[in-house]
Amino acid sequence: MTEPAPAPPTIGQAGLTDTTVEAGLEIKVRSQWDYARRRFLRHRLAMGGLICLIIIFGAGIFANYVAPYTYDGIDLNNILAAPTTAGHHFFGTDEIGRDYFSRVIYGIRTSEEVGVLVAVLSSLIGLVVGAVAGYYSGWLDNILMRITDLTLTLPFLAILLTAAALLGTGSQWRVTFILAALFWTSIARVVRGIFLSLREKEYVEAAKAAGAGDTRIMFRHILPNTLGPIVVSGTLAVATAILVEAALSFLGFGIKPPTPSLGVLVAGGETNPQQWWLTVFPGLTIVLIVLCVNFVGDGLRDALDPTQRRVRA
């Protein structure tokens, strides 16, 4: 005894009736961002880091309003004063009486400008180069791979120092460009990997069969999948850029006075070892910024790329 033949299956209407890849992609992307946002918000360290970062970077952006003094206001009556609440010298003063708190805040502004700009620039360059190399493959890809391999064998800091020494130190913008010129390689690598693997996917084949051109495929289908890793790499690049710029400035080959930079401030502490606040505060600020950026980067990685190997607590 058998029962009457049932009606045709009614699974997933969307899957059966959607003929355009576009519509499918759109729905997918929307829910992905939602899900990612929820994952990020649950990550307590990342949220804490984000809040802290907003406060610190906000202080930098609005330095003119937050800092009690200008960064070069000399007050020879008050040199090398220890931190105190009197006169709002929370971080003390340096050897020519400038308020250290203000200098640190302006230093934050410089650091964030350099960090963010380097990250954005290198991400853009890395994205373009990586996309072209990964998608078109062939000799272009080969050259790119050789270049990135080479950058791995060069002593990083030494090359930067050399570049900075020869191409002109002192200017914040020159340092930014030099850094960006070396950072893009790692992002390009990641992007290239993604384009290379996704190029072979079925939906790309389908799009081609439907007549989509190369640019369209790259933009519409593959690019959205790279945004996650790029955002993560870019965020972590901010931290690395800030650290490297500070090192360059500390050694005297990066940003030079009068532009305040946290690295320069720490260098000032070298000549006055007794005045611990000259070294501690700017360094602590760097540590705090980098720590927060790393937490946020970790949180973003969890949210946007959970398949990637996580190196976190």
Partner: protein, 344 residues
């Protein structure tokens, strides 16, 4: 009927997750008799693997937890055993074969070494030569060509089917009384699947071990097993001997499983999958877990409110957990013709 070699009673296994407690195994009880092959069938997430992994202490214990039950093996309760004691049984009296041979062997150690390790751990006094000879013999038994050279090879030099044979050899190295095969052929090509199942049969004949064969493939069950358990959402919904179950299933899920297989000898217009999706193990449906997808339930109150008990159908060894299993009398599945082959 001789005494069962393994008796599981009221086993409950839970996993603690961020979203809630996952009830992976919910109060199951079954026996395994010496020398027999018992099949456990179910979808992914039905709890079929977890039930066996948990009694061997192989589930990660921080998120996982055996919340209750006993597992009597040769008079000892595996669940109450201390870790060190359990280690004595694992690989010696009770052995396991896992699903994915590509990842189940350590890639940096030689295959021969890993097999010898299985023996040496339990019989440390045996000289290495004896152990090596036995390993080579085992490899020959499972059909690995040139076993003496293959002894020195690394896993990545083996093909998938070959690796699974080595895994089987490793499992029977100490002549276990109970063999648990967790989807041993799922990760392999169909033709290799057949070969591996042949090897499994050979090995059973050689050692006369009781075997629990976990699979989602009814075809394998028909070919290899004497008795079958059908699991759904952490519970056993039907159990009995293989002929009876295939001939007259008494649970809507079992019927649905069988109906969803395409029949080769007839024309069919539509495939008939079971509608809907397996339930979340965190928030299971009230009453019978299967009722949202059940064609027999038709929304009846009892199905929605009362969890059906596993009761004997017509008082026999054939058990089914459905309030209305009587209504399924006379309803045969597609496999009303005698099952070909069957288990020895």
């Amino acid at each position: 009927m001789p005494d069962p070699i393994l008796s599981i009673r009221d086993l409950v296994v839970e996993f603690k997750t961020d979203d809630g407690i996952v009830h992976a195994v919910d109060d199951i009880s079954y026996d395994v008799y010496p020398g027999e092959t018992l099949g456990i069938v179910g979808e992914s997430g039905s709890g079929k693997s977890v039930s066996t992994l948990s009694i061997l202490g192989l589930i990660p214990q921080p998120p996982g937890r055996i919340a209750g039950g006993t597992a009597m093996f040769k008079g000892r309760d595996l669940i109450k055993m201390k870790k060190k004691e359990l280690q004595h049984f694992r690989g010696d009296e009770v052995a396991m074969i896992f699903q994915d041979p590509m990842t189940s062997l350590n890639p940096v150690l030689k295959v021969g070494f890993q097999l010898s390790e299985a023996i040496h751990t339990h019989y440390p006094k045996e000289p290495m030569d004896t152990v090596k000879a036995r390993v080579i013999e085992l490899l020959r038994l499972v059909g690995v060509p040139n076993p003496d050279t293959r002894y020195e090879a690394y896993p990545h030099e083996f093909s998938g089917g070959m690796r699974q044979r080595a895994m089987i050899a490793m499992a029977i190295a100490n002549s276990p009384s109970l063999l648990i095969a967790d989807e041993p052929s799922t990760a392999l090509d169909v033709t290799i699947q057949a070969q591996v199942l042949e090897v499994l049969k050979t090995v059973q004949e050689a050692t006369n071990a009781a075997t629990i064969l976990i699979t989602h493939d009814l075809g394998i069950v028909a070919e290899m097993c004497e008795r079958v358990l059908v699991m759904y959402a952490g519970k056993i919904v039907e159990s009995g001997d293989v002929h009876t179950i295939f001939r007259s299933p008494r649970h809507p899920y079992t019927i649905g499983l069988m109906d969803s297989l395409p029949k080769l000898t007839e024309d069919e217009e539509w495939l008939r999958p079971i509608p809907g999706a397996p339930p979340s193990l965190i928030n299971r449906p009230s009453g019978c877990s299967f009722h949202p997808r059940c064609f027999q339930s038709q929304g009846r109150l009892q199905c929605r409110e009362e969890v059906p008990a596993l009761r004997g159908v017509e008082g026999s060894e054939h058990l089914a957990a459905c309030h209305f299993s009587d209504e399924l009398i006379g309803r045969t599945s597609k496999f009303s013709a005698p099952v070909a082959g069957g288990a020895a």
